[in-house]
Symmetry: C2
């Protein structure tokens, strides 16, 4: 039995990469003549084939599949099954519900789809998280400080002279008795990334916000990987690289991995 | 054009009911010999048929459908389509994601499935909410104080001498410029229900926690419906009433509506 956080660690060491590839293919990104579900399926498989050896993990965001209803969920299932052995699979679902309902979500994400980990919202507290972290082999990344502009609305409210995201981070740290809890921490707020790393030295960070959202790769890599793991998610800049060919997608992904290696060596 | 909150108001006035029927049918509630998806479909349609004239709204929780993958989402779509004209349809999805992703979730919930409203988590702030409330005819219930035991983990943290759920409630109130924002406020914390009602007199409350979770119906009805609307959700106690027959389900739902009417007259 290898805990989820250890699986992450092993994969990073094996391929010397910190790249998580988001699989978020919206039809609005294509010409209107090309937006059938089949076109999106072919394109997403292209991304997987182009980057599987460079990716620590793939992270499909459920919204991009759910918009197609049942057909979208069938697609997501096919997608999970076509990923070759190696990359871990993170369900970017941001679920959060009462215990008995969380059990149903866990059945969906871990048992039905077969993901290795899930992203979760912290707002409903520990009984909305516990079901997902009972099995050490399956992991959960809890939202701490997200990469979007309005993250400050709630996450930066002050409690006992600390922002809420610090309280959430420390609380998530306490839930990590099975070595399978991580945090979502956006690359768009590097100072806050440092603050969180100081109080949770060992939790893996899933760091979105690089690429289209303009986050800071160097700080994210250095702070993220001080002791724990800093896994850098890139979605749009890889999914829609250059002329959308497998070659362009691979070049974009390889370029990120090369930059990451340089930063880690410097 | 009638705003979502006005649609709720109209439906309540028309049928003199404050009942929202949760449609959350887990196979674990049946004998193991009866747990095929078809059995669950037939049972859920039975609940709809038995209660449609008593229900202000139906509220399927997505977890119970997602656990079946694509077939579950197909079922949810069929279910939405078989509900007769009258009851509103609330997607209990508790979504929350960055703006560009929220747009995809809105396409799923409003455009694909055709729901009238959705439940949302507040943790990522206003850009995770705005997409859902652009159209006044579609509504959003934002989680304020939930009904589960660990709701206190975060929701009761103190900010400027107020609990977080009060901050969230006041913030949701500010988002209500289209008369289509409401709050989720659990019946299991009646004092906190009163506190929230005092600062958001006009927002509709979606109140879970009655029935299996042991919440207080009388307080929920009286405080919830002081000025705004207090919509009482019941799931398990109606879904699995008596011998599971259409008659037992209707008797349970009617009994709740009768109690509500008595409370409102007293």
């Amino acid at each position: 039995m290898i805990s989820f956080n250890q699986q992450l660690h092993n994969r990073i060491n094996k391929i010397e990469s910190w790249l998580c590839v988001g699989l978020d293919v919206a039809p609005e990104r294509f010409l209107s003549s090309e937006t059938s579900l089949d076109v999106l399926k072919v394109h997403t498989e292209k991304i997987v084939n182009a980057t599987a050896d460079l990716a620590v993990a793939f992270k499909p965001n459920f919204a991009f599949y759910e918009r197609w209803g049942g057909a979208g969920f069938d697609w997501l299932k096919e997608l999970v099954e076509m990923v070759p052995k190696g990359p871990l699979l993170i369900a970017d679902a941001k679920r959060g519900d009462i215990g008995s309902t969380a059990e149903q979500y866990a059945k969906s994400i871990f048992d039905y789809f077969g993901f290795d980990a899930v992203t979760l919202s912290p707002y409903m507290g520990s009984d909305s998280i516990n079901t997902f972290i009972q099995n050490p082999e399956k992991g959960a990344f809890i939202l701490a400080k997200t990469s979007n502009p309005s993250a400050i609305d709630l996450q930066n409210l002050t409690i006992d002279s600390q922002p809420l995201f610090m309280k959430v981070s420390q609380w998530a740290n306490m839930l990590n008795s099975n070595d399978n809890v991580g945090l979502v921490v956006g690359a768009t707020a590097p100072d806050e990334l440092k603050m969180i790393r100081d109080v949770t030295p060992n939790l893996p960070f899933l760091i979105p916000g690089i690429g289209a959202q303009g986050g800071d790769l160097e700080t994210s890599m250095k702070v993220g990987n001080q002791k724990g793991i800093g896994l850098i998610n890139v979605s749009r800049s890889i999914n829609f690289a250059g002329d959308l060919s497998e070659k362009s997608i691979r070049v974009a992904a390889k370029s990120y991995v090369d930059k990451m290696r340089k930063i880690m060596e410097s």
